[in-house]
């Protein structure tokens, strides 16, 4: 009997035993799809964190006042508080050539009211116009406040998407006056939606000239932070060195390390998040491995359950004059076809499944997981499809016929 006939025999056996065939296919399908999809979810969440880092801006530095201010004797003889007097020095193009802009930041949550509607703005930021670009915000409509607005302490502000929706609903917020903690601020611009998957809503924000905020809300005390924008992502280190030198000089700090202030860049801020995402991926990988194992056991099971029936069948075939090799080829072809169909359907299911967001994560398929899952399941299918067959084919026909 030639190979072509043997393959036809195998296909006939597959279609003749529909339940057994479909269970085998299903077992492989689930194993493959689960692995690919779970790894894709892990990968998707890692990429989301990556995007978040990029959206925060990879060329920004944040200077915050340190907790241990004044505690280190000679190292800090003046106040360690960040204040407005540092800004001109940091913006000096000669002293800090790699700094594009330095924006003071006073921030806090403020309650805002517009025609009876209340909303507590999570971040009410007093700053310079440069802050908007440095923190990766874009303007959706209206205009930004200007340097002139800062000089004149004009009470104007741009508001984030969430604030606009909460306070104004469908009303156009432009030129409307909002009561912020008793002071009236005029809305001159609305910020575009800034994506983010963190726990805090980046769109629950309002920005106003720092002078106006200090004058009417916070007083002329210290700044919460200074946001530095480097000239390019590759210049962040130089910018950090320049900023450190200027701050040390201005704050009279002589030691090599200080707790008076801290400088962090965006990727440092998000390192913890990235670590979390990595752990998550590892966890999902483990779950995927388990589902592969479970899928494998499923395949093994269905193959083993049919062994008795198949052993008898092999006995009959041998009695009718089938050589061992022909029988093996038939069973191997059967197992290959079933494993491949199951595996490819599994890949298809995973590809379709990855189009949907799962627990608010958009899965991104990792190609190597496809090959791994497919290879593993097909190998299991092949092994357990052909191993009992090879054992049975080695028996004498009568032994195989009596097998139970």
């Amino acid at each position: 009997m030639n190979l072509f006939e043997t393959i036809r025999f195998a296909l006939r056996a597959i279609t003749a035993n529909k339940l057994r065939s479909s269970l085998t296919v299903l077992g492989i399908l689930i194993g493959v799809a689960a692995v690919i999809l779970l790894v894709a979810v892990g990968n998707g969440s890692a990429q989301a964190v990556q995007k978040q880092i990029e959206s925060l801006g990879t060329n920004t530095l944040t200077v915050t006042a340190g907790g241990g201010g004044g505690a280190r004797g000679a190292a800090s003889t003046t106040s360690t508080a960040l204040n407005m007097t540092l800004i001109p020095a940091l913006s000096d193009k000669d002293e800090a050539p790699h700094v594009r802009s330095a924006s003071p930041v006073v921030t806090g949550s403020q309650s805002a009211t517009y025609e009876g509607t209340d909303h507590t703005i999570a971040q009410f930021v007093g700053t310079y116009p440069g802050y908007v670009a440095a923190s990766n915000f874009k303007l959706a409509k209206g205009s930004l406040f200007t340097d002139e607005d800062v000089t004149d302490s004009r009470k104007v502000m741009v508001i984030g998407k969430t604030v606009a929706e909460e306070l104004f609903g469908t009303v156009d917020p432009l030129s409307k006056q909002v009561n912020v903690a008793g002071k009236l601020f005029t809305v001159i611009g609305v910020l575009a939606d800034k994506g983010g998957t963190g726990f805090t809503d980046p769109n629950d924000v309002a920005m106003a000239p720092v002078s106006a905020v200090q004058e009417s809300l916070t007083g002329y005390g210290s700044l919460n932070q200074i946001l530095i924008e480097a000239t390019a992502p590759g210049d962040v280190t130089e910018a950090q060195n320049e900023v450190t030198a200027i701050l040390n000089a201005k704050l009279n700090i002589t030691g090599s390390s200080t707790t008076a202030y801290r400088i962090q860049n965006a990727s440092q801020l998000l390192e913890t998040r990235a670590n979390t995402a990595e752990t998550f991926t590892l966890l999902l990988g483990a779950v995927a491995g388990i589902s592969l194992l479970v899928g494998g056991i499923g395949i093994t099971n269905i193959m083993m359950v049919t062994v008795t029936e198949r052993t008898r069948e092999i006995g009959i075939r041998k009695a009718l004059g089938a050589p061992k090799r022909t029988i093996l080829t038939q069973f191997l072809v059967e197992a290959t076809v079933l494993s491949l169909i199951g595996g490819l359907l599994g890949v298809a299911a995973a590809v379709i499944g990855s189009r949907f967001t799962i627990v608010s994560i958009q899965p991104v398929i990792v190609p190597s997981s496809v090959f791994l899952a497919l290879g593993f399941s097909v190998a299991i299918g092949l092994f357990f499809g052909s191993y009992p067959a090879s054992r049975a084919a080695g028996l004498r026909p009568i032994e195989a016929l009596r097998y139970e």
Partner: protein, 228 residues
């Protein structure tokens, strides 16, 4: 000229220790070409055991079995497959049809392993089925056939390759008189055309059609008489 079957002091022992069963206790037997042998004996006397050895489906515990002068124990898997496929037509007591496979496909199976091509195979399988009166059941699967019909499919499958040696283990056990006569008529024709037939039966009138009658008791041949 060798005898077709030459069984020399064959013993078959199943199991060991307490559960040991001596199914054959030293059977010697020769069958010449063209002979028609009926084997009778009570249930458990070792008839099927002997038949399985004759069909190269099982091996004796001790003793020798020569088929056409060749010691079967010296044949490898490939040669055994060839012998089973080309020389022997075997009818099982328990039919042993392949499940969920049509009667026609079951009958075609030995031809397929013999390398006969599709159309010719179907033609010969249909012919064999009509010989046992089952032409109209070709498309039925074993579980859609009665016991007697399954038995007749098994007979058709054994005869489809036109083997020189037909070994039939109670081929008429489940058949009514009419079907029994049909099957025996086929056997008579095969015998007339020079084939060798060995058949197991419990029915004296079936045994009467044979040329030679052998009786087995407890794994021994107790009677071997020529009828014609």
């Amino acid at each position: 000229m060798h005898p077709v079957l030459d069984v020399q002091r064959v013993k078959k022992i199943y199991g060991q220790g307490e559960t040991e069963v001596q199914a054959l206790r030293g059977v010697s037997l020769t069958v010449e070409r063209g002979d028609y042998v009926a084997i009778m004996g009570s249930s458990g006397s070792g008839k099927s055991t002997l038949m399985n050895i004759l069909g190269c489906l099982d091996i004796p515990t001790t003793g020798k079995y020569l088929l056409d002068g060749v010691d079967v124990s010296r044949l490898n898997d490939r040669q055994l497959a060839l012998v089973r496929n080309r020389r022997i037509g075997f009818v099982f007591q328990a039919f042993n049809l392949i499940a969920r496979t049509s009667a026609l496909a079951n009958v075609e199976l030995p031809l397929a392993y013999a390398g006969v091509k599709g159309a010719e195979r179907r033609r010969r399988a249909n012919l064999a089925l009509s010989m046992v009166g089952l032409a109209d059941r070709a498309g039925h699967e074993p579980n859609q056939l009665s016991g007697g019909q399954q038995q007749r499919v098994a007979v058709a499958r054994a005869l489809v390759t036109a083997p020189a040696l037909v070994l039939a283990d109670e081929p008429t056990g489940n058949l009514d008189t009419q079907s029994t006569n049909d099957v025996l008529a086929v056997f008579d024709r095969l015998s007339a055309s020079g084939r060798t037939i060995v058949l197991i039966t419990h029915e004296p009138d079936v045994a009467e059609r044979a040329k030679r009658l052998i009786r087995l008791v407890d794994g021994h041949i107790v009677q071997d008489e020529r009828l014609k």
